[in-house]
């Protein structure tokens, strides 16, 4: 039964399952297995930070799907408390007013070989911008997951990297910080989603 289920899952994910068009799979992000890294390259220092607190889910159907990923601004850490406070402050991400970053959408295009193009809206500081990202998806059958100590369920591993410009979201870098913080930030995401009942 589980073999059949995995075959259906893989077929659905890779878009080869025409008779299974109605199949829908929902995956919920497991925050234990999440890594989000962001980087800003500047003359004084390469600022790098992480978040390990992510929530969200993805629905996959044949040939498409939807997703919604949310990251609390409070969870972004760069290794220096004072810098983190500035990052959360009103001139930057304004965590008090806009407590989350969000990426959501309803366009998931299969490019083959486990690569998908997802298009949606990236929301930062309350400003929504269209964003298209290529993601790598690996499917993990329940037996394989259980063999490494993960919960026995079907999983997907998602990897993606993209860039955002702070100025696109209304963040105006103060002159004093201009040498320390770049406008363009590179973001990489690695997360595992567990299949859940619809």
């Amino acid at each position: 039964m589980s073999i059949l289920r995995n075959v259906i899952l893989l077929a659905g994910l890779f878009g080869f399952a025409a008779p299974l068009a109605a199949q829908e799979y929902t995956f919920k992000v497991d925050s234990k297995f999440v890594n989000i890294a962001f980087e800003s390259k500047m003359e004084v220092e390469d600022i790098v930070g992480t978040s390990r607190t992510v929530s969200g889910s993805a629905k996959l159907v044949k040939g498409g799907g939807s997703f919604d990923i949310v990251v609390p601004v409070e969870s972004l850490k760069t290794g220096i408390d004072m810098r983190d406070e500035h990052l959360r402050g009103e001139y930057w991400l304004d965590a008090a007013k806009y407590p989350t970053l969000r990426f959501y959408g309803t366009s998931v295009k299969d490019l083959g070989s486990g690569v998908y193009e997802v298009a949606g809206k990236f929301v930062l500081r309350g400003v929504e911008k269209a964003l298209v990202v290529k993601v790598q998806v690996a499917t993990i059958p329940a037996e394989k997951a259980a063999s490494v100590g993960m919960e026995k369920a079907n999983w997907i591993r998602v990897r993606a990297a993209f860039k955002v410009r702070l100025s696109d979201f209304g963040v105006k870098i103060p002159d004093m910080a201009a040498a320390k913080v770049a406008d363009e930030w590179s973001i990489s995401v690695s997360l595992f989603g567990k299949e859940v009942a619809k």
Binding site: F33, E39, E45, D46, G79, I80, K144, S190
Partner: protein, 140 residues
């Protein structure tokens, strides 16, 4: 007054010249090009080994890259990982969530550059004051 100004100028000159030399010494003696990583949870590390194929970057077997490789100085090197698959790589697990922020060589150079520029400007200012003082004394 003359002695004070010349002493200040000498001190400024030492900083202006010494700062880049100190930065060079620190970078040369303690600098290592490393790839900072966020280490995987044990289950994820085991899963990455299972999912890996020949195209999988070695870094991803150990963690997620934290930006591109960067030159670090004066950091605890006992945590460095030299992956057997690519011993030239130096991976450094860094836990940003716990406040870890290893010192980057470019930060040392940045500080040295501005210390040198600032001290150089200070020396010029002091020498200007000394010249003005010397001229006013000669005039009187």
């Amino acid at each position: 007054m003359r002695t004070l100004l010349l002493t200040l100028a000498a001190m400024g000159s030492i900083v202006a010249i010494g700062a880049p030399i100190a930065a060079w010494r620190i970078d040369d003696s303690y600098g290592i090009e490393v790839q900072m990583i966020v280490p995987h949870a044990p289950e994820v590390a085991a899963m990455e080994q299972l999912l890996a194929d020949e195209k999988t970057p070695v870094i991803n077997l150990h963690g997620e890259a934290l930006g591109p490789p960067v030159r670090l100085v004066l950091f605890e090197q006992t945590g460095l990982i030299r992956p057997p698959q690519d011993p030239k790589l130096a991976l450094l697990p860094v836990d940003k969530q716990q406040g870890e922020n290893p010192l980057q060589a470019k930060t040392v150079w940045f500080v040295a550059k501005w210390a040198s520029i600032g001290s150089g400007a200070f020396v010029l200012l002091v020498l200007g004051l000394w010249a003005a003082f010397f001229r006013s004394r000669r005039a009187s």
